[in-house]
Amino acid sequence: MSWIDWAIVVAYLLWIVIDGIRRSKNTNKVEGYFLANRSLPWWAVGLSVMATQISAITLVGTTGQAYATGLRFVQFYFGLPIAMVILSLTVVPFFTRARVYTAYEYLERRFDVRTRTATSLLFLVGRAFSLGVTLAAPAVVISAILGWSIPTTVLLLSVPMVIYTSFGGVQAVAWTDVKQMAIIVIGLFAAIGILIFGITRDVGFAQALRLAGATGRMQAIDTRVDLTQTYTLWSGLLGGLFLSLSYFGCDQSQVQRYLTAKSIDEARHSLLLSAFVKIPFQLLILGAGVLTFLFYVFQTPPMLFNRAYDAQIAGGPHAAEYAALQHEFDAGVAVRRQAGIDENREQFLAADRKLQDIRARAVAVVKEATGDERYNDVNYVFPTFITTRLPVGLVGLMIAAIFGAAMSASSGELSALSSATIIDFYRRHFVKNADDAHYLRVSKIATLGWGLFACVVSIYAANQGSLIEVVNRYGSFFYGSILGVFILAILTKRATGTGAFWGLVAGMVVVLTVAFTTPIAFLWHNLIGAVVVVVVGLAISTYSR
């Protein structure tokens, strides 16, 4: 990277931190710190909600996934718009009128302190570890691409974010999210422009899309009814609906966002922004991945995008084997490129299959040579394109966008962890009658404390690839069950505190059993968890009256 790119990244980080600290002037009370005095406009809240969902891994992982398999991941989001409509009709007016600080606060009013504490604790445990992973996963990729150590990368990602979140509270989080969202969108459009320019130097755009279609990458919709398939139209619509209902309706990191809105209407508008924009935006990210595939059909790609072990392999016993694969790969790339230009479908597909086979063999060589069984190439596709193919200035902008995505995804979680800790535990169980200044002071300490915890977890997790997978895969175990508790609270009058509590326990036991003993895809776990909690909760409520 040139000094201009570095200057852009540094200037961006400084701008984010300074502006975040400037926002602390309006947060001299707990309500200002955690809820921005319920004063934010809908568009700022809506962009903040969207920015929180776009982590750095969304940018680099989703594009890599689309490079490898195409657009089908978009189905994951099909339940989101419907969920936003349902939440706008139910939860949003409910929480706003209740004037709560956390979603779980309401559960004590409706049920009892036991149910509130249990759900808030589940949120804290799940979020605390996922926050570490939200920082660790991009740190692994950025450190490999830029040649930094993992602790350095984690600290560069997390220190600015912890500073502006601790000082400025949710107001700083929301306004920095708006800026980060703008940088992400500008960077993405610029990258897509460069990709299309690179592709259309050799073929027309329609011909390029036909080539992507020939490899199956334009197939976004899978109508099969198969519970073991992770991404289908039905798992997206139904499983995704319950996941979105739970995430946006019961997760403090999202609920806290729309509690900052000026009114019920503004809170609704903020969620409906995602309902309109989320799927097109996700298609934009996935489209960038498909275009990256097409770009590398006509511009020579590296055999493997993750070059972390290049030097080790070149100097080791597998050097000759790896060099032979590279030679074979270069010849295959030329054949595929010519077949693409001639639009010879059969030859193009045969050459593409051969290249995939060579890449798989190269990955096997890397794993054998290094002993790194978790070696991953997909997440490095888009960052490699950014750092090697974009012009000076744009590289800095895109790296800043990846930093911004990592920070915006984690700052909201950090603020939510702090609010749940102080409101649901500290003020509820330990120090009940202190003044506002005291609670504000400990809130800032809690934010700093959780930030420190996240740094430690992320440095540890970054060196334990399997831990990242575990947290990502199992972190959503509780979502459906927590949603079930809120359904009991808001939509039924019969449910009791005892029913809700034991329903929650039953939901988690069933979801864990299903996850570990059946091949049912994880999106369905949300639906199963919610249904079990509601059924068991209502049954116990009936018999415990």
């Binding site: 978009v74 718009p81 334009m218 097109p280």
Partner: protein, 41 residues
Amino acid sequence: MISPPQDDHERDTPMTGTYVAVVILEATIIALLYVLGRIYS
């Protein structure tokens, strides 16, 4: 007599048209993606 102003925070207007627009947009996107997949297969 002037009635007290409604609390702005409680402003809650029906948005049925917006909800219908969300559903129509989603159905259109899914249909377009399905057709796109068929055309470019």
